[in-house]
């Protein structure tokens, strides 16, 4: 029972693509039958990662952002890659409230939200080459769903 599915998307680092990117991931993850809450978590995390690439990765230029999603059984992996400036000190960048762009009213909560809303977060970066953010989350409960359908069937039988 090895259900896998994969997709790859490349788009320009324009802010109007933030909503596009998170909607795409949510639509792709929908096949795992996630709860509304899980979908909201995924959308927020993706939005944070893509926004980071747009305003920090490509500070004053437009570049390409590559987004790869893999579904394996009931786990979603999202990989967001940019080829921008990179991060010098990753632990510092991941600290809550740390931001290098306070003039843009960035709250410095991006990585904290990604960590809070996904099960696993991994950041790789090389200065001058770019950054990869890899996030994983288990979505939906296939066993629970099976139980639920069985229960409903039984209920139907009782009603009949």
């Amino acid at each position: 029972m090895n259900d896998t599915n994969e997709m790859l998307l490349e788009f320009e680092s324009k802010s109007q693509n933030e909503s596009f990117a998170r909607t795409v991931v949510a639509a792709f993850a929908a096949q795992l039958d996630p709860t509304i809450e899980e979908l909201a978590d995924i959308k927020t995390a993706v939005s944070e990662a893509v926004t980071n690439s747009i305003i920090h990765g490509y500070v004053d230029c437009i570049g390409k952002i590559r987004m790869k999603c893999v579904l394996c059984n009931n786990e979603l992996t999202v990989e967001i890659q940019d080829f921008g400036v990179g991060i010098d000190n990753i632990p510092e960048a991941m600290e809550p409230l740390y931001t290098t762009r306070p003039e843009l009213e960035r709250s410095g909560m991006g990585f904290s939200f990604m960590e809070a809303f996904m099960d696993q977060l991994e950041v790789q970066s090389t200065v001058g080459e770019g950054t990869v953010v890899r996030m994983k989350k288990r979505v939906g409960k296939p066993d629970k769903i099976k139980d639920d359908t069985q229960q409903t069937k039984q209920q139907h039988l009782v009603h009949d």
Binding site: T44, E105, F113
Partner: protein
């Protein structure tokens, strides 16, 4: 039961100044045109975010998704209104919003810094569970108030 009387106040007064106001049928037609124009303006804004000024309170009815992209426009428009109307308190109404990320925190923190010096307060209303969770996680409830409706927020602020 929300009063939209003050909605697009600035647009209306600007148009009235042009001396277009007439009576009777034409007047009615003019009002209708204004209404339509108002609607158009509302749609043209940041995904339909509308702004209402009541005394020294600014009510921002957020519509659509509050991310970095939409935050830029909302920030500019709100700051203009805050300065022009000597705004003290701000209410963010999330009834039309089902998505917010850390950019929303930035928008609210930025406005908070603007009004705190004159003793102003920030309130948020009509939150759904996802937006509420983001506020809780970020610890923003330490500095802002949460209310169920805009009316409740206004009663509390004034």
């Amino acid at each position: 039961m929300r009063s939209h009387k003050c909605l697009f106040l600035s647009h209306r007064s600007a148009l009235y100044d042009e001396g277009n106001v007439s009576q009777g049928k034409e007047g009615m037609k003019y009002m209708q045109d204004l209404k339509n124009q108002g609607r158009k303006n509302a749609r043209a804004g940041e995904e339909g975010t509308t702004y209402e000024v009541l005394k020294r309170c600014l009510i921002i009815h957020l519509n659509g998704e509050l991310d970095h992209h939409n935050a830029i426009g909302i920030r500019e428009k709100a700051d203009k209104l805050i300065e022009r109307n000597h705004i003290k308190h701000i209410v963010f109404d999330f009834s039309g919003t089902n998505f917010m990320d850390s950019a929303g925190i930035g928008v609210i923190m930025g406005r908070y810094k603007k009004v705190i010096f004159i003793g102003g307060k920030i309130a948020v209303t009509n939150l759904n569970s996802t937006v509420d969770r983001i506020f809780r996680l970020s610890g923003l409830y330490k500095i802002i108030e949460k209310h169920d409706t805009v009316e409740a927020a206004l009663n509390h602020l004034q």
